[in-house]
Subunit: 226 residues, 2 copies
Amino acid sequence: MATSDVKLLGAWPSPFVNRVQIALNLKSIKYEFLEEQYGTKSELLLKSNPVHKKIPVLIHGDKPVCESLIIVQYIDEVWSFGPSIFPSDPYDAALGRFWAAYVDDKLLPMMMETRKAEGVEAKMAAFERLKEGLVVLEDAFAKCSKGKDFFGGDSIGYLDIAFGCCLGWIKASEKMMEVVLLDETKTPGLVGWAGRFCSHEAVKGTLPETEKLLEIAKRFQTNAKA
Amino acid sequence: MATSDVKLLGAWPSPFVNRVQIALNLKSIKYEFLEEQYGTKSELLLKSNPVHKKIPVLIHGDKPVCESLIIVQYIDEVWSFGPSIFPSDPYDAALGRFWAAYVDDKLLPMMMETRKAEGVEAKMAAFERLKEGLVVLEDAFAKCSKGKDFFGGDSIGYLDIAFGCCLGWIKASEKMMEVVLLDETKTPGLVGWAGRFCSHEAVKGTLPETEKLLEIAKRFQTNAKA
């Protein structure tokens, strides 16, 4: 379905922005992507998200919706036709929300720590903590997917979107630091899931390529040292 | 409606637990309150919330639901009869979720800062930041309530519950530090709303009395110094 009054304020390397893109793709909603330039904040962004001044912002008609996971829920509720992002069972929905919050409140800070840690020893310790955090999510995958392909069961759901958008940065970290974060021994479920998620029609072309993220990561490092 | 298979693991001074109590009251759901003792974690809590090991946990039948705002959403979805906690309009729902996240991610840390800050000057600066944070919520009240009694309009909704449960600790802070956090000049909407919220049938008897919270706060301080 074509929807001409949908705009997304974002930037392609942001996993939070990718979440919104995938949700819109799943619902086949056309939208205009307004790219925010790194290091600047447009007038439209400041006006649309005056509290946090952060991307992504979905502008639907004249209404701005902020915060990636809130936007994903909004998309599911507004365009209630097509594939459901949320399961109909309230307990499954609560589980999805719980683990999505785990991704944002636990895993993402653990990923940030691997970047901030200084010295090889501290960096490796941070990666070990992140790996342990991913093993916890492996258990969640078993519980949520119930033996099916995705956290959401037969199709991509809220938690798939919430965690899946971290995969680009996970792969970039693996390459940059020569570590393995997802492997067949400790996280076999997540390895299989990651392959299926990345090759899903709604995801393909949305998650940034590893090489491009590595360039961005180097730019971050240079700026941090400057 | 009587529902005998609902248990709530909690502690009376916790605003997060109070959120769940109010949501259950709104829906007229009877439940068994299992009080966790300060400084200990029961076997049932560790088993029900192994990731965070925190209250509140709602146990519905044999299914544990964790994280206060997720539990409130679960309650609204499972017991969909009676007063709705979420508005039916997706944009209003997104606004409620946005401001509830603001309460948890911005206001509550600001409240924590007022407790942690050492020395009168640092403490007063922390209170000033909290006051500014409350003024931001005053604007949100105008937008969400649209001139009606509550954030949720004519009746108590998600954001009323999310923020309302902080009122006990706000009042305790005002008394303990002899400051005014909500006043008729800068936050007149919130002052009126707070009165209506606290005297609502679903809230009365749930929010702890200020004197009792002051005792708890003193115990925290003593333990922190020990």
